[in-house]
C-alpha cells in the first residue's frame, strides 16, 4: 500500500478539471436553487448547450472558436427561455419535471443518427479544441509545484477555468448582496409575498434561470475542452445530480459553497478510489469482498454513505448556517 501515491493523486484531484467542471455547474445551480429556489434538474442540458456550441460550432459549422463560445452561450440562453416561458408561471415542481425531461431530450437528440451532420451522432464531436489551445501563452513544458505539476495545455485550461470560477463567484457575490439578489432570495422564500410587493416575479425567475444556465454552459465548455471531445452520453442526468451534490455539500445559498463542495466531492471520490486500489493491490481486500473492476462503482457507494452521514449531522452543508436551515419549518 503506497500512501504517497494515494496522497499524490488526491492532492492532484484538488484542482483537476473534474472539480472545475462540477464547480461551474454547481455555481449555476446555486443561482437557480440556492438563491431563487428554482428546482432545475436539467443543469446538464445547459452544459450540453455549451459543449455542443463550441464542438459543433467549430467542427460542423466552421465558426471561429470565439464565435462558437458565443454560440454556446446563446444556445444556453435560448434553452433557459424555452424552459422558462411555459413553466415559470407554474409551481416549482413543474420546472423540475420539464428540466429533467428536456435534458434527456437534448442528449438523445444530439446522439441521434439524424443529426450526425450537426452533432456527430453517438460518436460525438472531436477536434475542436485547437482554437483554444492555440491561445495558450505557456510554452511547452511542466508547470506547477511538486505533485501539482501539469503540462502546458492542461495548465492553461486549469488557469483559465479556475479564473472563470473565481469571476463567476465574484459576480454571484456582487449580485446577491444587491437589491436584485434580495428579490431572488425573496422569491425563494415565498414568491406570492414578493409578487404582492410589486415585483415581477416571473421576470426575475427568468433572469435567474438564464444566468445560472450560462454558468452551466461554462461547465460545458470546460467539460468539452478538458476531454477535447463532446460525448453525448457524458451529458446524462448524473451530471446534474453530481452538481446538486456538490452544491448541497458546500452549502446552498452560499457564494463559496458550490466551489468548495465540488472540490471536496471530487477529491473524496479520488481519495476513496485510490485507497481501495492500494488496499486491493496490497492484498488487504480479498476478491470475495471486492473485485478490482468494482472499485469505480464502490467509491460512489462509500462517498454516498459519507454524504448521507454529513446531511444527517450537518444538513446545512459545509458553509451553511444551521440556524437558518432550522427556520425552514415555517
Amino acid at each position: 500500500m503506497d500512501i504517497a501515491v494515494i496522497l499524490e493523486n488526491t492532492i492532484r484531484a484538488l484542482f483537476n478539471a473534474e472539480a472545475l467542471i462540477l464547480a461551474l455547474a454547481a455555481i449555476g445551480l446555486n443561482v437557480h436553487f440556492g438563491y431563487t429556489g428554482l428546482l432545475n434538474f436539467g443543469q446538464v442540458g445547459f452544459a450540453a448547450m455549451g459543449a455542443y456550441g463550441i464542438g459543433s460550432g467549430v467542427v460542423y459549422l466552421d465558426l471561429p472558436f470565439g464565435v462558437s463560445l458565443l454560440l454556446g452561450i446563446a444556445l444556453a440562453v435560448l434553452l433557459a427561455l424555452a424552459l422558462g416561458i411555459p413553466t415559470l408561471r407554474l409551481r416549482a415542481d413543474y420546472l423540475a419535471i420539464v428540466t429533467i425531461a428536456s435534458s434527456e431530450v437534448i442528449r438523445l437528440t444530439a446522439r441521434s443518427a439524424e443529426l450526425r451532420e450537426l452533432t456527430g451522432g453517438s460518436s460525438g464531436v472531436n477536434g475542436f479544441s485547437q482554437g483554444f489551445y492555440s491561445m495558450n501563452p505557456f510554452s511547452p513544458g511542466s508547470y506547477g509545484i511538486g505533485w501539482l505539476s501539469y503540462d502546458a495545455n492542461r495548465f492553461f485550461l486549469l488557469v483559465v477555468g479556475w479564473t472563470l470560477v473565481a469571476l463567476c463567484s465574484v459576480l454571484v457575490f456582487l449580485l446577491m448582496r444587491s437589491p436584485w439578489g434580495r428579490v431572488l432570495r425573496g422569491i425563494r422564500e415565498d414568491e406570492d409575498a414578493v409578487r404582492s410587493l410589486g415585483k415581477n416575479v416571473v421576470g426575475y425567475k427568468m433572469q435567474s434561470l438564464v444566468l445560472g444556465g450560462i454558468f452551466g454552459a461554462f461547465a460545458g465548455f470546460a467539460f468539452a475542452l478538458a476531454n477535447s471531445s463532446v460525448q453525448p452520453d457524458n451529458y446524462g442526468t448524473q451530471f446534474t445530480f453530481l452538481a446538486f451534490t456538490a452544491m448541497i455539500l458546500g452549502g446552498a445559498g452560499r457564494v463559496i459553497g458550490p466551489v468548495v463542495g465540488a472540490i471536496v466531492f471530487q477529491t473524496s471520490l479520488v481519495l476513496v478510489e485510490n485507497v481501495l486500489i492500494q488496499a486491493k493491490g496490497a492484498g488487504y481486500i480479498s476478491d470475495r469482498i471486492l473485485e478490482s473492476t468494482d472499485i469505480g462503482a464502490v467509491r460512489f457507494v462509500l462517498v454516498g454513505v459519507a454524504l448521507m452521514a454529513l446531511m444527517i449531522y450537518r444538513p446545512q452543508g459545509l458553509f451553511g448556517d444551521k440556524k437558518e436551515l432550522a427556520l425552514d419549518a415555517r
Partner: protein, 329 residues
C-alpha cells in the same frame, strides 16, 4: 364636523409623519369617514360618494362551484371597510381576484378610475393596492430589515445590470433603510431588524407583513384576516395599527372573523355569503341585519327531517335572504 380635514391634501402628509401622535386628528378622520358614509343607504352594492375601488360583475367559478359572484361593489376612499362572511363565502377568493392573484371568469374592476382586470398582481401592487395574506408570508430566511427593504418600489438596484454597480443604488438604499427603520419602530420591531423573519412569533410576523406592505406606499391596504392566530394581548396593538392606516389617509379593506374587532374599527361592513354580497352598511346596522344573522347562523334552526324539507328550507332561506336584504334598503 371638520370635513375639510379629509379633503385637505396637506393633512395626508402630516398624518403620515406623525401617526397616532394627535388623538384629536385621529378621531377627526374617523368622524370624517363616518360623515362621508352617513348618507349612504345600507344596501348590497350601494354606490359610495368617493369610491377608490369599483367592481362590476366579478364571477369566479371552480368547476360547478360559484365561489364569487359579485354584481357591484364599491369601497369608499379613506375609510376602513370590513369584509365579513361565513367560511367559504368567497372573501379570500374575491381578494385574490381584485389583487390579480387569481383570474375571474368574467368581470371588471377599477382602482382609482383605472381598469385592473387582467393586470398581473405585481402591477396591481405598484398601483398602490397592496394586500397581505391569511397565512402570513414572512420571508423566513431573510432578515426583518431585508423583508422591509423588499417592499420599497422603484429600486434602481433591482435591475440586473445596475445591481453590479453599487454606486448606483447605495444612496437610494439608505433612504429606504431609514424609512424601514422608522416603520419597524412604529410596529415595535426595530430591535428585531437584524434577526431572521422566521425567528419572529406569529403575531410579530403579522406586524412585519403589515409594515412590509406599507413600504410599498399603498393607497389601499387589503388585509386578509389580520387577527388570525394573534394572541389577545397583541390584538389591541394590531387594531391600533389598522386605525393608524386610516389616520395616514390610506383606505383599508380587511377580511375578518372577529366580530368585536369588526365592530370596533370598521366604518363600513360588507357581508358575503355563498359568493355574493348579501348586506352592507355601518357595523351596528349590519350586525342587526336578519340577512347577516341568517348567513352566519342559518335561516332555520330546526334540523330538516326529510330531504324534501331540507330542500324547501335551503330554497326558502335563499329567497328570504335576498328579500330581507332589499327590505332593509
Amino acid at each position: 364636523m371638520p370635513a375639510d380635514l379629509q379633503d385637505e391634501p396637506g393633512a395626508d402628509g402630516v398624518g403620515s409623519r406623525a401617526i397616532g401622535t394627535s388623538v384629536t386628528d385621529g378621531s377627526a378622520r374617523a368622524r370624517a369617514a363616518a360623515a362621508a358614509l352617513a348618507t349612504v343607504p345600507p344596501r348590497p352594492g350601494v354606490p359610495k360618494p368617493d369610491p377608490i375601488l369599483v367592481a362590476d360583475g366579478v364571477l369566479r367559478q371552480f368547476g360547478g362551484l360559484t365561489a364569487v359572484d359579485v354584481e357591484h361593489f364599491e369601497v369608499q376612499r379613506g375609510v376602513i371597510t370590513a369584509l365579513i362572511g361565513p367560511n367559504g363565502a368567497g372573501k379570500t377568493t374575491f381578494f385574490n381576484l381584485l389583487t390579480g392573484f387569481d383570474k375571474p371568469n368574467s368581470g371588471t374592476w377599477s382602482f382609482e378610475g383605472k381598469e385592473l382586470a387582467g393586470m398581473p398582481a405585481y402591477r396591481v401592487a405598484r398601483r398602490g393596492m397592496v394586500r397581505t395574506f391569511q397565512l402570513t408570508k414572512a420571508l423566513s430566511r431573510m432578515t426583518v430589515l431585508d423583508n422591509m427593504r423588499l417592499g420599497a418600489t422603484g429600486q434602481r438596484g433591482e435591475n440586473f445590470f445596475r445591481a453590479l454597480l453599487p454606486a448606483s443604488w447605495t444612496a437610494q438604499q439608505k433612504g429606504i433603510d431609514a424609512r424601514a427603520v422608522d416603520l419597524l419602530g412604529r410596529f415595535k420591531l426595530d430591535s428585531k431588524a437584524g434577526d431572521f423573519a422566521g425567528s419572529l412569533s406569529g403575531g410579530q410576523r403579522k406586524l412585519l407583513e403589515m409594515a412590509r406592505a406599507l413600504m410599498v406606499e399603498p393607497t389601499l391596504v387589503m388585509l386578509d384576516e389580520p387577527m388570525a392566530g394573534v394572541n389577545p394581548a397583541l390584538t389591541q396593538s394590531l387594531l391600533g395599527h389598522v386605525k393608524d392606516l386610516r389616520e395616514q389617509g390610506m383606505t383599508v379593506l380587511f377580511v375578518e372573523h372577529d366580530m368585536d374587532m369588526v365592530r370596533d374599527i370598521s366604518d363600513w361592513v360588507v357581508v358575503m355569503a355563498q359568493g355574493r354580497i348579501v348586506a352592507e352598511g355601518p357595523p351596528d346596522v349590519v350586525m342587526a341585519d336578519p340577512a347577516v344573522i341568517d348567513a352566519y347562523l342559518g335561516a332555520h334552526h330546526d334540523a330538516p327531517l326529510s330531504l324534501e324539507e331540507e330542500e324547501a328550507q335551503i330554497g326558502g332561506a335563499r329567497v328570504e335572504t335576498l328579500t330581507d336584504g332589499r327590505d332593509e334598503a
